[in-house]
Symmetry: C2
Subunit: 159 residues, 2 copies
Amino acid sequence: MGKTEITAEPGIPLIILTREFDAPPELVFRAHTDPDLLIQWLGPRELTTTVDRYEVRNGGVWRYVQNDPDGNAYGFHGVFHGDPSPDGFAQTFEFEGAPGHVCLQTATFDDRGGRTLLRTVSAFTSVADRDAMIGSDMERGVQDSGERLSELLARLQAS
Amino acid sequence: MGKTEITAEPGIPLIILTREFDAPPELVFRAHTDPDLLIQWLGPRELTTTVDRYEVRNGGVWRYVQNDPDGNAYGFHGVFHGDPSPDGFAQTFEFEGAPGHVCLQTATFDDRGGRTLLRTVSAFTSVADRDAMIGSDMERGVQDSGERLSELLARLQAS
């Protein structure tokens, strides 16, 4: 199983993630927008994700909370720009532990002959905000998320 | 009257605008969120702005259309992230002439002893998108907007 490729060039306030999945775009998209699926793969393995709101439409609000085994809770929220579709979606993203530091995230799902190239771009309003995200042990969460999503897609296609 | 300072460094997908206004933050904020005021200053002088939707709240959708004297129409839309306030706001932004190229815009209104330092940051998901915005005769629209907003704020305070 491959890893998620992370591109974060010094001094440029972007984080670009790419990973190929052995599933069609529609299914990878559904795993991003169906909250019952999302909670099964999003984030590091030891966290439990609870969805508070997930309104998958233009202007829809989303919010989820991740809990660790020590009882700490981490909230995240944002809004969808445009109606999400298997062609892609855009949303804002804010970690409630650092209020006011919003970023924009886009995701595209490219068909690679039944497989899907997922590409997500996070655009920050400053290099400091981008670097804070990188410094937040992000890579482990990214790699865990990619592996867990691969495993979920395999289970969904086997059932 | 000063000009708007535009910062757009090569290779960095940000545009930062700063300008000081001779009005308190609450009034500068209101000029950004009351559509009846917004249409009086937004954009180049020769365009007429019509607001289609302007829902100033978390998840609220905004859309306006600008018409030039030749009959061309330019649509723009986005959503608000969080509830806008005189402390600042964040919104997404998409020019309908280039669909799919979304950016994030934040605005802050800093009190400078009764004057206001307005700072807006536009964060793009690629340098190409940022450069396309710069290449769109943006500077003239930015300078016209700043001057027109100064003039509107003076009228509002004189009346």
